[in-house]
Symmetry: C2
DNA sequence: TGCGGTTTCGCAACAGCGTTGCCAAAGTGG
DNA sequence: CCACTTTGGCAACGCTGTTGCGAAACCGCA
């Protein structure tokens, strides 16, 4: 049954049937998402109608609901284009907030973002991820409490990003690289109990990728790969506008792609993993070689998935951003159609913002699955 | 606007808004898909309701429409489980048919399948794919005409599978490996004009993958990779129950994944592509090494995408099926969770059947996109 | 044999969705 | 000043899945 109940810790529950409630929520999320994308410029009802394919009337009804709920508001008028000037609708960012938590190996960052994704308050503090569950949870709880005070409207929940692997569906950690003591820890439920808030857990790379989606970095077809080179090497994949997590939500293990058959051994047990090769090159200070390796791995990925765009990020990479960018671009440009390469926008804390977006994503219909469209392209009628 | 018009050759048209028509068609396709999956055993209304999450009443209405349209029929009763015995509903396979066309390098296979996917008539004839467009189109037209005679009910259209690369959306071929003269040829529209039927074009690997989905080979999460080793090496990816084609519908280029950095040169311009390594090993008759290479590539893919299942097929591979299967399994088993490996079921012409399924897929809601579900797993409430 | 319980399924009324038809408002351009 | 265009709301409508209720068909027990 697809009731409105938010499916607690329980089973996956497929239930692909769609009822009127689902339809309304789908369209509402769609409009809300467009309003967010429009940013402070806003959008007129007619524009929303054109973009969604819905009737202007339907958009009027939907926006009326949103305005009644306080999520959207009218904001003046735009210049006429020959008739009645359009009324601008804008998202009301303060209507709700979400907390983002970034648990890194040596630091804890907590932020509060509003509906538009803008940071309201951010705090960073040192943290030893290996200090034990209680200590870490205490620190998170304390920091979140400080940040919560700044939330005006509803607080929707907290999104937590940390190094994988872990199970996004159940919120249980696996053998977090370097900190095996976390294996099997139900972080999501433990934190939900402490904070008294809904909690979502995901890998840092996925959070970053999601944050980039909602910041509008996805291409026209809405697919890209985010490659993160820091203390390790990982990837967040966005396919069709949604983060791809895979069957057991373990997707994105880019680092253990074998790139040099029978190459140097990797802690994972294999030989010639791209992560070993890259980190080795980084240790030697050979940026050009690292970029070439990264580019080769990215090219493999682009050819396999036909991705629109490659985004680069991560601490190590950002130290030589320009060199990496051009190095990766050189490899990618040589093979078939040129796929754009870019470095993640500066001035943003990509991961912690993305963590908060884990909570917001469902509001804006960016969760995957949902995409009920009709015209089937690819068929030619005589 | 998402009207009911089937979107001819025109633009992609996003239009993600959902109206009542879309909702009904979504649920209808869902029920039809479940009926097909149930096969000759059929399914009761109550079963369909439980599986879709819809109300029994809704299912009754939907199945009534399907029965009125001749697509479904009642077929006796099942044993009672303590109350009124359930009425079995079955798909009426003869209600409609689809043509499948497999254009291979040296052969043309054409088949006619009914709604259940069963072959009614199949013809194979030699063909030179390099003989020029007119010759090939003539051959296809003639063979399709012969097979069409066997179609009883409606003929929905023709699906064409051939070696890539090509653009699935527009139906235009690219530089088909070994036959560059096809570059830019609008196969879909040309054939649609000749046959007087809707036509869909796709890569042979994608068609095979789709055929395997509809034959129920997909795992519980509905994701797998089909690896095809024949004259070349390619893959068909199924993610979330739908074939993943990527931004430019070019996904699945598994063969040109670089596996041995700075290895032997490949015609594609790179060095150390898995295809070169594999074909080389095949030429040497070294099945074990080929399997190891294939397994390593598959492991890369599994880790990157978190796939449920790896299916193996293709002419070269099937000649030593058991050896390849165990060889690939050995590599995959060693890395993390064991992902099942299997060889494509024998006694089926996987590609040509899949080609026909390209036409049927939309009927059963297996086209991708469509998946309107609600409960957002991954969130824990306190 | 009779009766309560269970399961399946349909008819009728219903609430809610987006759509259609119509009209008011508010600009532009001659 | 009068077309004309564009935007957007109100009311009625058709259609969706849902709810309430009842009939049918079978099991199990007395």
């Amino acid at each position: 049954m697809n009731r409105t109940s938010p499916a607690a810790t329980s089973a996956p529950a497929p239930a692909p049937g769609a009822n009127l409630t689902a339809l309304r929520d789908h369209n509402t999320a769609l409009v809300l998402g467009l309003l967010r994308d429009a940013g402070p410029d806003g959008a007129s009802r007619a524009e929303l109608a054109a973009r969604t394919g819905l009737t202007p009337q339907a958009v009027s009804k939907i926006t009326a609901r949103l305005r009644a709920a306080g999520l959207a508001a009218e904001a003046g008028r735009r210049a006429s284009t020959g008739g009645k000037p359009p009324t601008v609708l804008r998202l009301v960012p303060d209507a709700a907030h979400a907390v983002g938590v970034h648990l890194d190996r040596d630091a804890l960052t907590v932020t509060l973002v509003d509906l538009s994704g803008a940071e309201t308050a951010t705090r960073t503090s040192p943290l030893d991820l290996g200090a034990g569950a209680e200590t870490v949870l205490d620190a998170v709880t304390a920091e979140v409490a400080r940040v919560r005070a700044a939330a005006g409207g509803t607080l929707l929940g907290a999104g937590v990003a940390l190094p994988g692997p872990l199970d996004h569906r159940t919120g249980v950690l696996h053998r977090v690289t370097g900190f095996p003591q976390w294996d099997g820890f139900p972080l999501r439920d433990a934190l939900a109990g402490r904070l008294g808030l809904p909690v979502v857990v995901d890998k840092d790379t996925n959070a970053a990728a999601l944050g980039l989606v909602l910041r509008g970095c996805a291409g026209p077809a809405g697919s890209f790969a985010y490659l993160h080179l820091g203390t390790g090497l990982g990837a967040g994949l966005v396919l069709g506008g949604a983060v791809h997590r895979g069957a057991r939500t373990g997707a994105g293990e880019f680092g253990h792609q074998v790139l040099r058959l029978d190459g140097p051994p990797c802690p994972c047990g294999n030989r010639g993993c791209i992560e070993v090769l890259c980190l080795d090159a980084v240790a030697r200070g050979d940026v050009a070689e690292t970029a070439r390796l990264l580019g080769t791995g990215a090219a493999n990925l682009v050819r396999l998935l036909d991705i629109d765009l490659v985004l680069l990020g991560g601490g190590t990479l950002l130290r030589d951003a320009a060199a990496y960018e051009s190095g990766v671009r050189d490899v990618l440009g040589g093979t078939g159609d040129a796929v754009p390469v870019a470095v993640t926008p500066a001035g943003h804390r990509t991961v912690v913002e993305g963590a908060a977006e884990l909570v917001l994503a469902s509001l804006f219909g960016r969760e995957g699955r949902a995409r009920l469209t009709h015209p089937s392209p690819g068929t030619s009628r005589p």
